[in-house]
Each structure stands twice: as C-alpha cells, then as structure tokens.
Symmetry: D2
Subunit: 351 residues, 4 copies
C-alpha cells in the first residue's frame, strides 16, 4: 500500500505536523537519529539563517508503539512558539514579490493565514524533516541511504558527488557538518557570500545535489509511477524549489550520445554502468546505480529592500520593505529537507 505524507500547519498557528500513511511496520524509531536530523534543519542563529531559533522537538501522537512504527498512520506535531505575528500585521496586505502571498490569497480566497507565510512558511519543512528521518530509518533497514550537499551557492561551487562510487560514509560525514559541503573551503566561500548578501539586504540561491545509494534495480515505471516523476512531484512540494534534473540533467542538452551513454558491464554478478550520466534511472525505473539529482533553490524572496507590490486589500500599487526575521539564504538548511522529501519518495516507490 502506497506511502503518502501530508504536512499541515501554519507558521503562527498552534503547531505544525505531518501524517505518514502506510509506513512499514516495525521500524525502530531512533530518537538520536531523529534529533540529529531535526538539528540539521534548525536555524543556528549563526548569522547564516533566521534568528528565529526553536526547539523543534517533534511529539509523536500515533503510529509508534514500544519504540517501533506500527504501520498505522504516524502523526507527529511540533508546537509553534517564539512567533512575532506583529511583524506581519503591519504589512499583511502587501504581497511580498516572488512569494506565495498573492497566489495563496487567490487560491484560498483570502481565507489563508497570512502571518509568517502561513501554510507556505519554511517552518513546514520541520515536520517534513521528521517524516524524512522516519523514512530514512525504514530505508536503512533495506540498506538504502540518502545524502545531499550544497553543490552551488551563488557563484560558489562545491565538488560534485562521484556518481559511481558514492558511499554511506560520505553521507555520514556530510550529515555531521554544520554546513553540508564536501569541500570545506568552498563552504567558507559560500558562507562569506551569504554574509555579503545579508549586508547588501538581498538573498542568494543555490543548488542542492542529492543521492540515494543501495537502491535496488527495477523500481519505478515508465507510466504514472515513474520514479523520476515521483521524486520530482515531492521535491516541488518543498518551498523555493524551481527545478530538478537527474544525472547530467541540463548538461545533456549540449552532449553527444556517444559521450554520455552509460556503457554497461558485469561486476561481481551485478550489472553496473561505467559512468552514471543518467543518475541511476532509465525509463523511469532504477538501474541499481546511485540515484543522483540536482535541485535548484531560488533566493529567499523576503528581502529588506523597497520593492513594488500590490495592496491586496485595496488592489492598488504600493511598495514594500519586508521586515521580520528571514534567511538571506536557505541552502544551509535545505540539504536535509531535500533528503527528506527524497527518502519519502523512495519509500513510496518501494511501497
């Protein structure tokens, strides 16, 4: 039965949370692992992200018994606290450019909770990370692991994953880092770039590269259950994502077939490819190589510069300088979020 997850909550409501249906039964809920994952997403108050620091301890309400998943719907919630709604009241009718303020207003006919972005807030990624942590624990039982790093932040680039020789160790090392890059010097340059953006009252985007190892061959479908499609659909549910590419991705546009076909051979009784330009998926089905893909995250839309906008109450032109606590860059927190949506997608494809 198909795994599905539903994230609920609003930034300034009582709580945010998630329900996950059709998890496997008997998965041990490792609280240390979940804490670590939640901590990876948490704003550090280190100048790189929003000063809104919260405890973010998820409370499991259902679906876990004696430390293991039951298989019935698992619900966990995270209380909201430390909200400063007043920051938003002053500008509640002024839609932030490039934010969902306007589209949410239209979609929900003005009934949406506008405070702190409401249901569109990045805060909703906290329960997603919790659900992703549970999914990773379930995948771990099958020898499947998920990892991600910041491949690019503004003009600065990390070294890419090696798509044929990825190991669980590499993921562990990344997960322990405060700033998830393979090349720490590139990481320092990225951090400097974020600080510079903050000084300039602007924000900056980047690319997360994510990978899955241990994936069995033959999972997915060319049709509705296309593995690339399942992952993409869930990745686009992450706020600020504007694109996804598998393997060489947009690099295929200027490539010739003979350069990028992944030639095959036997390796200890297993079919492997010598290169992995296709990122582990062919015809919507896993081929047993690491799944590798890139996700682009746009610059945070909430910046403290004057921008032209529209007053949704009067439908008049206006201008806006966004106040409140906002990340100039969410890349440092996005790796674990992308990993989480990926882990849930892979478990869905396997379910």
């Amino acid at each position: 039965m198909k795994l599905e997850y539903t994230v609920f909550g609003e930034s300034h409501g009582p709580a945010v949370g998630v329900v996950v249906e059709n998890l496997p039964s008997g998965v041990p809920i490792d609280p240390d692992f979940i804490s670590r994952e939640m901590n990876r997403r948490r704003a550090k108050g280190d100048g790189l992200s929003t000063p809104r620091v919260e405890a973010d301890a998820p409370k499991i309400l259902s679906g876990v018994f004696e430390g293991k998943t039951t298989g019935t719907p698992l619900c966990a919630i995270i209380q909201n606290g430390n909200t400063r709604s007043a920051d938003y009241d002053r500008t509640k009718n002024l839609a932030r450019p490039s934010h969902a303020d306007f589209t949410g207003f239209v979609r929900y006919q003005g009934y949406n909770d506008y405070r702190g972005g409401g249901h569109f807030s990045g805060r909703l990624t906290a329960p997603l990370v919790f659900a992703g942590a549970v999914a990773k624990l379930a995948l771990r039982e099958r020898g499947i692991f998920v990892g991600a790093h910041i491949l690019q932040l503004g003009s600065q680039k990390d070294v890419p994953f090696s798509p044929t020789t990825l190991t669980q160790n590499a993921f562990e090392t990344l997960a322990e880092k405060d700033f998830t890059v393979l090349d720490d010097e590139a990481g320092e340059r990225m951090k400097a770039l974020v600080q510079e953006a903050r000084m300039n009252l602007t924000s900056v985007g980047g690319i997360i590269q994510c990978a899955v190892i241990g994936m069995p061959c033959g999972v997915g479908s060319p049709d509705k259950d296309n593995l690339e499609g399942i992952i993409a659909r869930n990745i686009f549910r992450v706020p600020a994502v504007k694109g996804i590419e598998f393997g060489l991705g947009f690099g295929f546009a200027s490539a010739y077939g003979h350069e990028v076909n992944d030639q095959m051979r036997m390796d200890n009784g297993r079919v492997v490819t010598e290169t992995n330009y296709n990122g582990g998926i062919l015809g919507g089905i896993s081929n047993g190589m690491p799944i590798v893909f890139q996700v682009v995250i746009k610059p945070t839309s909430s910046i403290s510069r004057e921008q032209k906008t529209v007053d949704l109450a009067t439908m008049q032109d206006s201008t806006l300088v966004v106040k409140g606590r906002h990340d100039p860059c969410i890349l440092s927190r996005a790796s674990v979020v992308v990993e989480s949506a990926t882990a849930l997608s892979v478990l869905e494809a396997l379910s």
Copy 2:
C-alpha cells in the same frame, strides 16, 4: 473529478493508444487540429528523424459523440504498421546503454516486449500527442493556450520566449513550422548539427521551452496538487526527459534576490509582475502570468557505434552496435510532445 490519462501499447504490438478519464463534456473534436498536431510529431523522413514514417491516424473508440467529447472515458488507438521486428531480434538480449532495455527487463522480470523498445518506445508519444490535442481543444474553450519551441539543440540556441509578453500568435506561428524554433537561422544551424551527428554515428540532446498563456490565477496547491509537481510528474513520463525547471530555473542558483524577485503592479485591474523569473507559479499555484518552463531531452541512446553492454540472457559482458531506424535527435518532434503532456497537466490541475 480529476483528469487522468493512461498511454498503452508496445512499438511492435497491434496498436498503441490512450485513455483519458474525466475530460470536460462538450469539447468539439476538431479533426483538422488533431491532424495538424499528429503531423507535428510525425517523422518527416527528411533525414532529421527516423525513416519509419507512419500514417498515425488515431481512431477514436469511445468518449466522443456527434463530434464532441461526452465526458466519459475517451479511448483512441493508432494501429502499428511498418514494423521491422527482425532488426531487433538479432540483438534482443543486448541491452542498449542508457536505454530502458535493462531496467524494463528487471522491472518486468523479463516478460516485457523488447521489440523496438516495446512500451518504452518513442512511438508511445503518438497517442500522447492525440490526447494532448484533445486537451488543447478543451483549454482553448477557456482561453488557455500551450506552445513550445526548441530552445537549445547541442551547442545551438534559439531565442527564448519573452515570459511576460507571450501571445497565442507566437504559438500558432511555431505550430505551423516544420522545425519549431523562433529564430529560423538558429534552426538551420541546429539541423546542420543533427546531420553532422548522424554522420558521426552519434546523437544529440537539447532543451524544449514550453509555455502556457491564459492560465487563470490561483490554480494549484503548495501540497500534493502542487502545479509544478503535476506538470513535472507528467513531463517525466515523456521518454528521454532528464530535467525540468520553471522560469529562470537553474539560473536562480547564481542570482541575488533583488535581481530576480518579480515585482508586482496593477494592470487594468489585474495583478501582473514586471518580470516573470518564477515562470508563472509561486508556492505551487499559478499567478496569472504565463507559465514558462524548460525540459531537457537527452541524446537518443540508440547509436550505431560499438558500445560495451551486457547480454541479459547470459549475464556476460558483450558489445553492441545498434542497428535499426533511430532518430539521431528527437528535438524536432519533442516540442509537440512536451506541449501535450503540459496541456493534459493543466487540464488536470483545473479539473
């Protein structure tokens, strides 16, 4: 009720086809329009694509009465003919590198129809284009139009769509062209590049840019019915697609927020954005601007050079030189295919 489509068939089976559920009732089926669309996808035998030229006349079996959609499931089939299965028999156990031969074999436990790629064949895009044509006719009734062009083919680039001033006329002009580019000189360079690839026994990839105009504001959701997610999931069902990006897409990675936020203003009582870097979607919901996105298509995997592969019958290393009729580049046929998956996605989001 939610529109869904299912494409069925194998390249060398009796027929390929499609069923579309929950179409609107009363949509006039314009046979000339459908012919034009089918013709746009058809191989021209002009050296740019496979010499397998077929009539591809879809036969409607259900869901249309007195020239209009009924709203009950619409099925159309296209007979297969002109198949040369013998081309494939000789190499049936040799998986083509970067093709779904191997993953399909594993997924379907060796029971898949391997001839001509079977269910993974590009031939399956013919019924998709038919279904897309019907979807376009339904969207036309609501003032919504879909168009696409080859933005890039190998190293050659077309001029991009202007994301704020797109018109239906531009789409009409493109649809009439044999080679869907805005800049015909760029088109000639692309064609030359394809011929060169053919001579070199290789293939080449590219990028399709697709747009939707007339889209009402407020369609989609940040959650499971995310508009970017719906489009992405269906686009990945198109063979050879390896990535999708909306608006500026991967360009957001090196951009600053103040440069790429789409500032807003009123225009004749309607909210518009001055730029459209977000490609018409914010928070998974349409904002009323043109939806613009890019799709990368990898080089055709079937090339006539010797490649290392594996014999699926013996599970031994082997080599393969692909014979048979194969496009060195499918970009010239891909515009209408991407448009079709898009039209069906938009109609799904509206259903």
Copy 3:
C-alpha cells in the same frame, strides 16, 4: 481538488486526530455545532454505552484562521485520557473473536498497539465526527444536510425515513435527541433490548439509516468516482460496518421492475421522481432526490462470555472472557458517525 481525510491515533496513545485536505476555504467553524456533534457521539455513562466517558474536546492545530477554514490541511486532535491499559495487558495475546486483534496482528506483523484495540478502536470515530462536523458546515453553505437514525436494533424497528419528503427539520429534531429514533416508543423498546443484552453478557447489532437532502443532480460518475462507491468506501472505514444498501437495497431482490421503477415528472421546473426506491442515485450519479441508504452494524465483538480463541504469542488454542469497558451496543452512538463519513463523502464527490 479532491477532499481526503486521514484518521490517526491509537486508543491508548497520546491522542487521536484527523487531517482533512482540500476543504473549501472560508467555511465558518461553528464551535457550538461541533460541540453538539461531538456530544452526540460521546458515551453518556447511562448504561447504554461504555462507562469510559471523556471530554473529547478537539483541538484544532491547523487549517482554521479567524474562525474560518483556510482550505489548507485542517488537523485536529483529541487528547486521550482516562485509559486503563491494565485491563488489556492481562489478555493482550488473546485475540478477541470477531475483532481485528488477529488481523491487525498479522497485517502489522505484531507491531500494532494492541491496547484498547489500538488503531482499530471505536475511539477513532471521535476525530471522524469532528471532521464530519466540519464537512457538514461546508455542506450547509450549499444547502445540503445530512441526517441519520437507528432504523433497527436487534428485533426492534424504527419507522423509516420517507425518501421523498425528507426535511432539514427532521434531521434537526433527530440530532437533538439522546437516542436517534423517529419513533420514541420504538426507541424505548430498543433501549430495553440493549439493557437486556448487557444483562445477558452479550451485545446486539442494528441498522443505521442515513440520508442527504439538498444534493444537486449530476454529481458522481459510473466509473471510478461512482457516488455509491465513494460513500461505500468511506462507510466501510467505520468500525463494525458489514454492509450498505441504497434505497430499497436488498429489497430489490424480490421486487419486480414495474413495482420499483421510480417514475418521473416535472415539479416546479425540476425533475422529481414519484418514489425513491433508488435512494437518489442512478448510474453512480445523484438524481436530485434525497440520497437514502442503510448501513448494518454488527454486535460489538467484545463480550464477557467465555469464547474460544487463540493465543497469538504461543499460537495455541485458548479461551477468553473479555474484561474492560465495552458497549453492548454502539447503535446509539453510530448515527452521527455514519452521518460524518457521509458528509465527508458528499463533499469529496463535490470537490
């Protein structure tokens, strides 16, 4: 976008709850109405139902802002309290005959929370009633109302709804009653029958008749979105339901066509039927007449007589006398539960 609801929780876990996706925006959440509905389901401690009486005040965590639904996922939870898990520990491995103890054990590989029936507990109907109350508020905005009564309890029968002349008033009167029957004398006989069953250490079943008025014509489909199918699927998610029939239902088996065809005529510009043997649905689509159906509820399986069973720990034959607090009959609480699943189904069909 399709309304869906997910009920979560276990009887003796921290909380039970529900998430409802794709509710309409702007539905006023009337707390008095919700209280009344919750109260209708609540055990009264009157000897007719379980002595476990709880406050059952649902706490809304998301999806409501300034007293109205936002349209984003609505989550509400009800804390569990007053649990006496010890009642269950003594017999935890002894599967109650005709209960889901055994099937849940197998389905969830022994990882299910067995205490108090866990996820299979009737306690899970509390959040269902909350969600149903919200759905009723949304339907009320469209002039659609749902009501139910106990048509039969053991050998005692209430008068049936008149399927052509049902009014909202009838529903209001029923909802105010402690014991939802049209004929209060029949109600007294039913109560006596329940007390007798309790004395005899047994339990008794019955039939709930449910109706929907104000339903527009043309909702549903002969196919996957069949209106009878949507209602049936959700009704079977209610514990202890073993059958559903629309209109004359199983009475059709011994009827002749000319007796039970619903003849038609115009009435104030509207098509009506003179009888309503079909219960308001033809070909899976509403015909504008009241929707009327019956649901059979089996006798509570937990009875305090010795029964043969199996010890799931040792897989040996055993016997069981169920202890703990159990309703001898859940019919008095089932009307509002059936109404709730119905209201959610109708809103789903309309979404």
Copy 4:
C-alpha cells in the same frame, strides 16, 4: 504499484474495452479460460436474456507478449456490432425511469451518447469480464480463486455457500453451468420466474453471492485501503448494483454477539474460525477464511409498460413504453461480472 482498471466505450460506439494498469508480469493468458469467462457473460438468446447476441471476442492490443502479461498497461477491445440504434432514436429524449438516462444527461450536460444507454450500458461489462478473467489467471498463480452464484432471484432462493468449507471444485462446477446456481431445481424455478416476468412485461431482481478462497491473511487496512471498501467501490461500478454486505451482512442487525462472534482455533498451524459470519474480513483486513459477500441487483429498469417520465428536450411530462432488446433479468449473466470486479479488487488489494 496499485492495480487499476478503466472500462471505456459506449453501447453503439465503435468498440468497448478496458485498460488494466500494474498487472503482475508473466501471467499466462489462457485463451480457453478467457473464452469460457466471456461466454459465461454472453447473452444466450435463450429467452432469459436480451436477444442481442454478439461474438464478444476481445482483441488484446497491448500488455501481452508471447502469451504472457508484460506488466505494462494491458488494453483489450471488443468491437461493437449488431447495434440497432434506430430503436433508441424514437425515444431518445424520454428518460427511462430508474435508468441513468436522466443523471447521465445532467452529469455530462447532454453530451453523453444516449444510444443503447451509451457508457451506462450493460455492454460495458464485457470488457470488465475480460479484465476479470486476466485477474483470475493472476490470482490462480497464487492459489486464490473467485466464484459466485445466484443466491436469490425474485422470491426464489438457492442454497448459500458454506462459508467455512468452500472449495475450488465448487467454483469450477458453477462456472460450467449455464445458470449459476448450486441447487439446479431452484435454478429451474428461477428461470420460470424470469419467463413469467417477461410475459408480464416486467423485470425482476436478485442477489449474487460471491466468494474468494485461498486469500492470505493480513491483506487490507482499517483506513483508506480497507478491503471491504476496495471491493465495495468496484462492485458499485457494476451497473444495477444497489447494495453489498459481507458475511452475515444485514443479518447482523437482529443478531446477538454471542451468537455470531466467530470463535477461533488452531488448525494445522493455521488460525481458523469455527464459523465465518464476518465473511473473511475483520477491521478491513482479510483473516484467511473465505471472503463471502452478497450483492443485490435491481430489476432491469427497461420494461415495456407505460411509465411516467420527462422529455429531456422539452422538460415536459411525458410517458414512455421502452422498446428495444432488454433482459427481463440480468442475474444469469451477473455472476461472472461480480466475480470479475472481485478478482480485480483482490488483485488491487494485493498489489
């Protein structure tokens, strides 16, 4: 991945057919078995059913290769022939009472194909039986078998299945009969009753009892994938069905718990129940006993007596005497149809 089926076509269109997604791979397509199943549904021209006798040979278009299912979408069609549309033109605007003529007209805004009932025709059960036959072949590989008989026809009753001792042999014997009853003398009385109904220009209903043996324990869920719910949803997609009950069904209403609880014991290492009042399902999950349920089929609505109706073109009162070829009773053809929807449901639950 979830099995789904879509039936398409209209009674007087070019063809009817079905697409089945996510079938298991490698299921041998036994043409004799499929013929037998199709033949069981076919009108015999024996006075018991419509004189419209057709060849009904399904043509497989996809999803089968070298005699086995591939696992990709399987489409089969059945050409329509022997249609006498003129029968319908004369009365096209007169909605048949208790038929979907009126609801279909509203649902599809008058664009539905009204000829012969169009998409609502019993003709659509032919491709359903084909799909069901394929599902039965897939279930057979797992030792699961489905059978059905006419439990009641008007006032005449067959003996019921023994819910604890059902065998595959019983199903085989039934499938070979022209008239699927266990007690052939009851069958003769039923046939006489149908002839009498025909003479009286009326029609008659009945009950099909269906069973599944070999079902593994633990399949289903108390939630969205409730096994009773899955079966019910698909059974209501069969035309003329007005109710479904599992096991004792509506008989539970007047039963006491101690009478109808299914006590349990070990039997050769397997948990069995001594009785099977619950029809093999508890808490929405199979318990390993035979699944047994009853489906009520209403009398055919098309009768040749004058009935009051409405003219859909003028929205005026009118009267109608239905002409054309119609079954006075569809029970003799319904057993295999109910079995088919059941086989597909069980395979869905297992997928």
